[in-house]
Symmetry: C2
Subunit: 150 residues, 2 copies
DNA sequence: CATATATATTTGTCATGACAATTACAATAC
DNA sequence: GTATTGTAATTGTCATGACAAATATATATG
């Protein structure tokens, strides 16, 4: 049986993700904010838990350690965060927000909301919750599989 | 009101897409197939419509023209496809599948199915259809917005 | 027909994803 | 306490996404 990509949830999720990324990217650009969506996601995790290590951020954000290293490099150059030697384990660093990060917190959240509102137009709360629940289950399936491969 | 990324459908879709990409990537690698998921998507569109132009593929796959150009370059080097001057419009080229593409069609579809089965475990047809329908609606919202920005 | 505008593709550059290899330090085993 | 193994972070390399700029050819306008 031939595969139909249009009917494949995996593919549809992947493709929609690209479109959503494009959308938030343009909204951020339109607002002249000097940050990318992925950089913002790292900052978000720091807002939840300032002083996290690179590894903790990578695990939370389900990102590759190497990529988080490089995102942090850029955020550091931009003056949003700073790295300190971890006293508890000198292999690692703790990452800390700097005051400049406050400046973009609200505007970037506004961008996020704008993107959400566009994407979710006409989709009611009940449907959104159902969607999140299914995505949860798929994510669990995939995470379990990825972990079993290591 | 603070944003919670865990409850944001946009973010959950984007993150799940990364995990799904990682999964199909590893399944393809495990099977020693010399192709990437994105390269396969371009081939898929050619299987639907051999002789498409770069632009047609980009539109169908909702990809950036520049990126499709480079994916096609790689597929050409790998011997899966070939480019011919478009007689109807000499600015463009038509892209054609070569016999070698047949060799990977079945194995790569098998990888795709394996990835689907893992992701969709425990999620019944009705739920999958509901999911696709909601994704459809979100995609329409986002596409409409992206087009209005041009 | 000549000029202006539009379109198809390519090229350049940066950000990020994947994964492998490396480095530095920690923890464990003996 | 030294050797082995494990872990945190980094670096290298490639694929692909985004977008801007360049190139070649078509189309439209006068």
């Amino acid at each position: 049986m031939e595969i139909k990509l249009e009917n494949s949830p995996n593919h549809r999720i992947a493709m929609l993700a690209i479109l959503l990324k494009r959308q938030i990217f343009r909204i951020i650009a339109k607002n002249n904010l000097d940050i990318t969506p992925e950089q913002w996601i790292v900052m978000y995790h720091l807002w939840q838990q300032d002083g996290s290590t690179v590894g903790e951020i990578a695990l939370n954000a389900k990102k590759d350690f190497a990529n988080v290293t490089r995102i942090i490099e850029k955020l550091e150059k931009a003056g949003y965060i700073t790295k300190r030697k971890n006293l508890a384990d000198s292999r690692s660093y703790t990452i800390h927000l700097l005051p400049k990060s406050d400046e973009i917190k609200k505007p970037i959240q506004q961008c996020w909301k704008e993107s959400m509102n566009i994407a979710m137009e006409g989709i009611n709360n009940e449907e959104q919750e159902f969607l999140i629940k299914i995505l949860d289950r798929i994510e669990k399936n995939v995470m379990q599989n990825l972990e079993s491969l290591q």
